[in-house]
């Protein structure tokens, strides 16, 4: 015997097109539509840009924007990981990445280990440190009350910056890169140059996003993340250890952030504030992507990078220094017109 509330057809396809699936379909349509709007805006601006400055310059700006954007996307991914499990934006994410990058730098500089190993050391150490920070500074607070936790992350940002300044000083340092950096190590695309460093960075970032997305959508840990993000008390009743779940999200996010820091540092130079700007762009990217979507973080990062490169590159009175303003504009525009972002889920609740 089973519950059949009505004589509705039993076939699984019976109600595919009705009820909640309408919501899913609407979400897909809405994502497609907003991606379309963004693409159309970029395309329209591109036409103007190509007429204005020629194809080669345009391609160069697109390449620069997209490859920078991938890095923003990676930091956004770290923000999204913590946000998914806790509903909180970690304002110290950039500072944690900066610290991890300094650790990797120390490993290369002082202990003379190969760069790949040093980056891995930095990632592992920062993951461990993040786990410790979560245990000591975050877990004592009620996970359902977000404001105190956000304030703690702000304080942590200040503390990490100060500590890094104390340990390593403010002098910018050059950071080695994983990829060949010779003056002719580039691919030529229509006259524009795509340097191997940029290409390699982008490929690593995409690989990380794909790997994390696959693990989290299939693994037990990913299920725990989604449960905790959805309802803390229900998750407790399912036997999920809330603290350890949040701790894992902090650890993974810190490792991803450190990797992004190590990939960004060769072009930006390394000092205690080098991640601050990138973090702002990552906020824009995460907001644009929808805050709870891993793929959205990457898409948001690329779009943010493109928007910044094109706007500051072709609108002379904005100037190169207006990049942060562009990020601000993206954040405000998304929150105003599409708060759930390009690929995020709008929470829907039936009372």
């Amino acid at each position: 015997m089973a519950i059949t509330t009505t004589d509705r057809p039993d076939s699984p396809a019976g109600r595919r097109s009705r009820g909640g699936d309408v919501l899913a379909a609407r979400r897909r349509r809405s994502a497609a539509k907003s991606l379309g709007v963004v693409t159309a805006l970029l395309a329209a601006f591109s036409v103007y840009a190509i007429i204005d400055g020629g194809l080669t310059l345009y391609l160069q700006r697109v390449i620069d924007g997209a490859t920078n954007g991938v890095l923003y996307g990676m930091v956004a991914l770290a923000l999204v990981l913590v946000f998914k499990a806790t509903g909180v934006i970690n304002f110290a994410q950039g500072a944690m990445a900066m610290f991890g990058t300094f650790l990797a730098f120390t490993a290369v500089d002082k202990w003379a280990v190969p760069l790949v190993v040093a980056i891995l050391i930095g990632m592992v150490l920062s993951a461990g440190a993040a786990a410790g920070i979560e245990r000591v500074l975050i877990r004592p607070f009620d996970p359902s009350n977000h404001l105190p936790i956000i304030i703690v992350t702000l304080a942590l940002y200040l503390a990490l910056n100060a500590l890094a300044a104390l340990l390593w000083g403010f002098d910018p340092r050059g950071f080695p890169t994983l990829f060949p950096t010779g003056s002719d190590d580039y691919l030529s695309i229509g006259g524009a140059r795509l340097y191997y460093t940029k290409l390699g960075t982008a490929l690593v970032a995409v690989a990380v996003v794909v790997a994390l997305h696959l693990t989290l959508s299939r693994s037990r840990l990913g299920l725990a993340f989604r449960c905790v993000a959805s309802n803390v008390e229900s998750s407790r009743l399912l036997g999920v250890h809330i603290g350890r779940t949040v701790q894992s999200s902090w650890a993974i996010a810190a490792a991803v952030g450190t990797l992004a820091g190590c990939l960004a540092a060769p072009t930006t130079y390394l000092d205690p504030t080098f991640m601050d700007k990138i973090l702002i762009y990552a906020f824009a990217a995460a907001t644009l992507g929808g805050l709870d979507s891993i793929a959205g973080a990457l898409v948001g990062g690329v779009v943010t990078g493109l928007a910044i490169a094109l706007l500051t590159g072709y609108i002379p009175w904005l100037g190169g220094e207006f990049a942060l303003g562009c990020a601000f504009f993206v954040i405000i525009a998304v929150l105003q017109f599409k708060p759930s972002g390009l690929l995020g889920r709008r929470t829907q609740d039936r009372v």
Binding site: T5, S11, R226
Partner: protein
């Protein structure tokens, strides 16, 4: 020596500094269905939350003869499952992920076949397995909550007002399925319910809570015939 599955000895519960249960004694035997009745604010929900350690408690709670411990995640692993009031649906997960989440503590290979079992018991869920659970109707969410709670293969199921906000016909069907499944799997139940007639119908024993303390206890039949219980909770 045999011991009850669950035993509460002089349990007090607190929200902050406010004491909401004042020394409750309660036992549940293996496979037994126990109903808890009481007016609004009598402490029924608090009683269930005490068992899962979602509130601060004093006094002894024994499960399977040993102290139940202080951590909800351990209690769930020992075989206690709870459907909270309002069903605790994970609204932005799909129906299937909700049921899977119910089996979160399990690491055996039967999770997949169990998933199939619940789709058979509740066909409406099978039809909407990839739908976000937040868009289900109240009745469907309650089916989901029951499937989710039983996915962990508990020895004891705690149900907080399963009939809340549901049409009488849906409630009756749900209770039928619940009674059958729990009997099949020898799952003991503690049901907190406003619908006293229905709950007393499926329970072996009952407790009446008044202002945080047990006022009356006895066999379900005895309670049904008790003058005071009848007037207060059955309405005739």
């Amino acid at each position: 020596m045999t011991h009850p599955l669950l035993e509460l000895r002089a349990v007090h519960a607190f929200y902050g500094d406010v004491e909401c249960l004042h020394g409750v004694d309660l036992t549940v035997a293996d496979g037994e269905v126990v109903v808890v009745l009481g007016a609004n604010g009598a402490g029924k929900t608090t009683l269930l939350r005490s068992i899962c350690q979602l509130v601060r408690t004093k006094g002894q709670i024994l499960f399977d003869g040993a102290p139940i411990g202080a951590n909800t995640y351990d209690i769930v692993r020992r075989g206690v499952s709870m459907v909270p009031q309002g069903r605790g649906t994970l609204v932005d997960l799909t129906v299937e992920d909700n049921i899977r989440a119910g089996g979160y503590i399990r690491r055996d290979k039967d999770v997949e076949s169990d998933l199939g079992y619940w789709y058979e018991v509740f066909p409406p869920l099978a039809q909407r397995r990839s739908t976000l659970a937040g868009s289900l109707s109240g009745g469907e969410q309650q089916m989901l909550a029951i499937a989710r709670a039983l996915m962990s293969k508990p020895k004891l199921l705690l149900l907080d007002e399963p009939s809340l906000g549901l049409a009488p016909i849906v409630v009756r069907q749900l209770f039928d399925v619940l009674a059958r499944v729990c009997a099949e799997r020898a799952v003991a139940m503690v049901v907190v319910e406003q619908n006293a007639a229905l709950a007393l119908g499926m329970a072996q024993r009952g407790y009446v809570l008044e202002a945080g303390a047990i006022a009356v206890t006895g066999e379900a039949n005895t309670l049904r015939d008790d003058e005071n219980v009848r007037r207060a909770y059955l309405g005739y």
